[in-house]
């Protein structure tokens, strides 16, 4: 299910068989190991990204999801030209990113949640002025953009305080504004909400959504917070052990990987005694046996019940309709499976192709 491949528009980003291998040295533990490594070091190759391919269409909001060390940040670094890949090719707005052509760099921006791009000891306003010159903005354009971003991100009171004295949430808003000053066409966000409290996370997501609604820019985001991706992106690329294990919409992912939906039924009248409750339970079980979709009673009490039904939202809806036609209820809720749970299951399964660290190439080197 390669989403972008069937898009009629020219992709903004194309990656073909992109790979990146890092080389590190292995040091045996202890003093003996330390002495030995003075003369002989084992060189270990670690494939962080293993030949991934995908495309991103203009205006898309794509989320790269994966556990730590899955290869999502490495992919982002190759797409922004920070890293040269070991193999494969990539094009961003028709340019090879690691050639770092000025015409490309003027159209992209990268925000890193774990690395500040603002001058630490100076107010954010100074970095904004530097970016004005770096991106060669006219004074009138700069003022207009600054006004818009200041209003959108509510920066009025933050611009003239040294960055080191801002809270993480305030700093992230400034980081984002600094990167958006030159109106980039493609925005890369690497873990933008990392370390933020829930309120700040929500605010940042709100700003991003708001900005995207106004400007329709292409956003590629990496995160291991499911909520970021769920709220911001229609498309998700799940990456684990350096390979893409899913590329498509979140709802499809949930339908494919979550075998069950939950139907919560609240009785029209509370069930008064044990006997009535037992009768109700029996009726439900009979319905379950005759239903085209099997369901199971997960919870049951005098006020409500929770049923677990296999299949997607449509199947759950049909089952709920079938039940409510027979049993009087005051409320029906169909709950989606928990995305965090789906992801945890997905990450724990072996990748579809490629290998994990076990396939690393090792070679000794004398230094």
């Amino acid at each position: 299910m390669k989403w972008g491949c069937s898009m009629p528009t020219t992709p903004v980003i194309t990656a073909r068989h992109l790979s990146k291998t890092y080389y590190t040295f292995r040091k045996p533990e202890g003093l003996r190991g330390a002495l030995r490594s003075l003369f002989y070091r084992e060189r270990v190759a670690r494939e962080a990204v293993k030949g991934i391919s995908f495309t991103v269409a203009p205006g898309e909001l794509v989320g790269f999801l994966g556990p730590n060390g899955a290869g999502k940040t490495t992919t982002l670094k190759m797409l922004t030209g920070i890293l040269h890949p070991t193999a494969g090719e990539a094009y961003v707005l028709g340019h090879i990113p690691w050639k770092r052509e000025k015409s490309l760099l003027k159209q992209i921006a990268l925000v890193m949640g774990q690395k500040s791009q603002l001058w630490w000891d100076l107010p954010a306003a100074d970095t904004f002025l530097l970016n004005k010159d770096i991106y060669e903005l006219s004074t009138s354009d700069y003022r207009r953009r600054l006004k818009e971003l200041t209003e959108l991100f509510e920066l009025e009171d933050l611009l003239h305080i040294p960055v080191r004295q801002l809270s993480l949430g305030e700093r992230m808003k400034c980081e984002l504004a600094a990167c958006l000053l030159h109106s980039p066409t493609v925005l890369f966000l690497d873990e933008p909400t990392i370390g933020l409290d829930l309120v700040s996370q929500r605010k940042l997501r709100h700003f991003l959504k708001e900005y995207n609604a106004r400007h329709q820019l292409t956003i590629v985001l990496t995160s291991h917070y499911m909520q970021d991706v769920k709220e911001l992106c229609r498309r998700v690329v799940v990456i684990n052990h350096g390979v893409i294990i899913y590329d498509g919409s979140i709802s499809d992912l949930l339908a494919q990987h979550a075998g069950t939906r939950l139907i919560k039924l609240t009785w029209a009248e509370p069930l008064p005694d044990q006997q009535v409750q037992e009768d109700m339970r029996r009726s439900l079980m009979t319905l379950a046996e005759n239903s085209e979709r099997r369901f199971r009673i997960a919870e049951f009490d005098a006020w409500s019940t929770v049923l677990e039904v296999s299949g997607g939202a449509t199947a759950a809806g049909r089952t709920a309709a079938q039940i409510t036609a027979v049993i009087p209820v005051s409320d029906v809720q169909i709950q989606e499976p928990d995305i965090e749970k789906v992801m945890a299951e997905l990450f724990s399964t072996a990748p579809a192709s490629g290998t994990d660290g076990a396939g690393d190439e090792r070679a000794g080197s004398r230094l």
Binding site: G81, I82, L83, L110, S116, L122, L130, N131, E136
Partner: protein, 268 residues
């Protein structure tokens, strides 16, 4: 072209403001950078007590040598290598690589702005020392000497920029480079003429030093100031300075570009 140059100047001025954020620290660095040679001038005062000439220098020449050498050294020694290794080791370079500005150029411009500021901060204490030692100072500058001296100082700065950019770029391949920096700083101190005029070094060391760029960064400009270099040798020296500056800047630029290809941008 103008707007392209402007971004580097803005970055330079910003690094100036950044340094001013910790004013006391900046002042201390400025003093530490310059005080070494001034202490040496005081030592030579006692060494010369019962001698007329040492290594071809009179007492007055020696004192003037150290005072000029300390100013030249301060003005022409950038320290961008520490910033470069910090950015590479912490992965902070990544943020600069995604913006349409050349980080190599930005390092040199920022350091140049900082050099000027450092010199201005150093100037008051320097002038006080000069005033105390005024009776030993000899200035026999002709306009030609002055022209040679200023050109030599500028070229010395470019040589140092090339050396420091090259040194910093080593961090693309070697994670811990501070040991290497220490070794080179010792060599630099000895072979540049900052610690001793080169005529006082053993001959074998001056022969080796002749093949290296160090002597052109402090010793050569200072000797020009003292009018101890014949015109022909001065022109040849300036020519060699140009060669060293070009070679070091070109090599450091190539190494930097190679380094970017292996840069790993560590950390999220």
């Amino acid at each position: 072209m103008i707007s392209s140059g402007r971004k580097y100047l803005t970055a330079g001025l910003l690094s100036w403001q950044d340094c001013l954020a910790y004013r006391a620290n900046a002042a201390i660095w400025a003093l530490v950078d310059g005080c070494g040679s001034m202490v040496m001038a005081l030592i030579w005062l006692s060494v010369f007590r019962d001698r007329g000439e040492i290594g071809g220098y009179s007492l007055n020449q020696m004192i003037t040598y150290y005072l000029v050498a300390s100013a030249v050294s301060l003005l022409t020694t950038p320290h961008m290598e520490y910033n470069i290794i910090w950015e590479i080791r912490q992965g902070l370079l990544s943020g600069y690589l995604t913006r349409p500005a050349d980080r190599y150029t930005m390092h040199i411009v920022s350091e140049t702005v900082w050099q000027v500021m450092k010199f201005l901060m150093f100037l008051p204490s320097y002038l006080v020392v000069c005033w105390f030692l005024r009776r030993y100072i000899i200035i026999t500058l002709t306009p030609l000497n002055l022209l040679f001296f200023c050109s030599a100082v500028l070229l010395a700065y470019l040589i140092n920029c090339g050396m420091k950019m090259l040194l910093g770029s080593v961090a693309f391949w070697v994670t811990e480079t501070r040991g290497l920096f220490q070794v080179l700083e010792c060599l630099w101190g000895l072979l540049s003429g900052e610690i001793l005029p080169l005529s006082l070094l053993p001959i074998w060391l001056t022969v080796i030093g002749g093949f290296l760029p160090f002597k052109y960064v402090v010793w050569f400009p200072t000797e020009l100031f003292l009018d101890r270099v014949p015109v022909q040798e001065a022109v040849l020296g300036l020519g060699l300075q140009v060669c060293w500056a070009v070679v070091l800047l070109v090599v450091s630029r190539l190494v930097w570009m190679r380094g970017l290809a292996v840069y790993e941008g560590v950390g999220g």
